[in-house]
Amino acid sequence: MRRERLKHMKKRLREATRAQRELEKRMFHLKTLYDVSREIGSLIDTQAIIKNLLMMVVGTFGVERGLILIVEVGENRIQTMTQRGFDDAASAALSQAVDAGFPTKVQGATGTVVLSESDDSGLLSSLNLRVWIPFDVNERLRGGIGLGEKLTGDPYLPDDSELLVTLANQAAVAIQNATAHEEVVRYADELAASLRRIQILESVRANLSKFVPKTVQALIEESPEAPLLDKREADLSVMFADITGYSRLSAKMDLERVNQLVEVYFGAFLDEILKLGGDVNETAGDGLMVIFRDPDPRRHATAAVLAALGIQRRTRETNATLEGFFDPITMHVGVNSGIAWVGATKIEGTAGTRWTYTASGPTTNIAARLAALGEGGSVVISAEVRRRLGDEFAVEEDMGSQSLKNVSEPVRAYRLRVEEREPAVAQVLVESRRHPRRPVSWPIRVWIGEDSFDGHAVDSSIYGICVVTVAKDLLKVGASYRLEIFVGADSPLQYTAEVRNLSDHGVGMKTKEPFPLG
């Protein structure tokens, strides 16, 4: 009886010891799960994640040899891999396995694969692996954990598989997070690079704008791939201004001082020109050619004359400021209005091609000759300009008909009175230039009652537009019409626009709603 009880107690003791060992093992596994989630959960690098995981797995199951790899689905390619305990021979076997399509095989594996010596795939067993646990990271990536024989020589049991699958799933989540993080970092890097490129382009644009006429800048911004630079007839005003006796000045002063002088005066002139919407088309040492455009032919002539008077005023002011440093200078200024060919001229040479954007023709030529007619400090205008200006500006002298070089017909010229004070019209023009116009090429439709007339817009500001349409003769200044603008494939943009002026150039219209790219 006592013997029986002793036997029974021994059995209970063995069971208790086994239970105790099982409990210790479970605790160790739980601790591993905790450590894995803590250590790899915060990692943002896939390689570091699988390396840490492999260490945990190798230590938990007591194996010398282990492998974790991530393959790209659909390709026989390993994206990331880590191994432990592979000697040279095993590494060579792994390379051969990869060549033989191992990654493709990995993609196809499902569930926990416990391998035997007679594993017919040959691939995993050639690496001396005993168990293979595949896992999905995402649609693009698939992974697997391979482990060699346990140090204890024990087989892998279902409990082991359960733990391995749990660890693999944790790894998959961590790799998903890391992949997402890597993508965010990559996007951030790309964004930073793009911003840098934009900054460089902005810098280039800012520097180029010093040399490229404003009209050309607007055309290139509107149509960067194929700027609308083709020549077309346009009604405009041209102003020429040059320094009296520039050659004599250059001979008297060193070039650096001459350059300083030109920069100071022309800087002041530029303010006058830009505030009136002028576009500096050419600069040539001592001279400027400036183009003024507006749907209203009277407005651009007025702007050009105001800029001319402004140049003379700024010359006097700058002379006074620089008294004692430089001898005073005087400026010749001439203004003409009319039709000119505006657009790009291509100059092709053997060494390359250069484009210039200018207004050419008799209108421009006459403006240049008129500038030369006057004495220093005067503004000379043509009869056409005077006709457009009306009585807004006082004429000092009717210079009569002048024969100008390379101009077939004599041109009547007038010398304007150069006032100390700007005429009131200047302020009005400057105000309107707060919303500068830019060339556009939008198809439009104007509705007059139930009838519609197609045409196209040639330039636009934020609230103003100049359109060319066959309906011009039917439109009335001061009346409002429905205007549709086709700027994309979608429905046209709808406006109610008031006709402000009618000219050969087109129909000037105003709206209360801003235009798309104005």
Binding site: R21, E24, K25, F28, K31, T32, D35, E39, N52, L54, M55, M56, V57, V58, G59, T60, F61, G62, V63, E64, R84, G85, K150, L151, T152, G153
Partner: protein, 114 residues
């Protein structure tokens, strides 16, 4: 909270004793591997890993030890371990580490056993 690791080497007769204090984990395993390689390079054939009583060893740390013991086996070095708590002695036995390195209850016992 992780305990700071401290690894030191001291000769004890013909035995190289590697003292280990603090946490033994995968991220902190490098100094132990370095110490092992240092004594190996010096020609050590008998090595004793002496763990401090408050050492914490996780599965990553065990992986480090497996790597070291696997190498020591190839190099025919005799390795012993001491200072391990009862819990870690069971864990080491469970994962098969004791096949490579026997655990002794004290440094004296380990030294006497080589």
């Amino acid at each position: 909270m992780a305990k700071a690791q401290e690894i030191s080497i001291r000769p004890k007769g013909d035995v190289s004793v590697i003292d280990i204090k603090g946490d033994v984990t995968a991220p902190t395993g490098q100094p132990i591997e370095d110490a092992y390689h240092q004594v190996t390079a010096a020609g050590a054939k008998k090595i004793l890993f002496a763990f401090a009583s408050d050492c914490y060893i996780n599965s990553g740390g065990i992986a480090i030890l497996i790597g070291i013991l696997s190498e020591s086996k190839k190099k025919e070095q005799a390795v012993r371990m001491t200072g391990l708590s009862a819990h870690f002695q069971k864990i080491f036995a469970m994962v098969g580490l004791t096949k490579y390195a026997q655990i002794r209850p004290s440094e004296e016992a380990a030294l006497a056993d080589f």
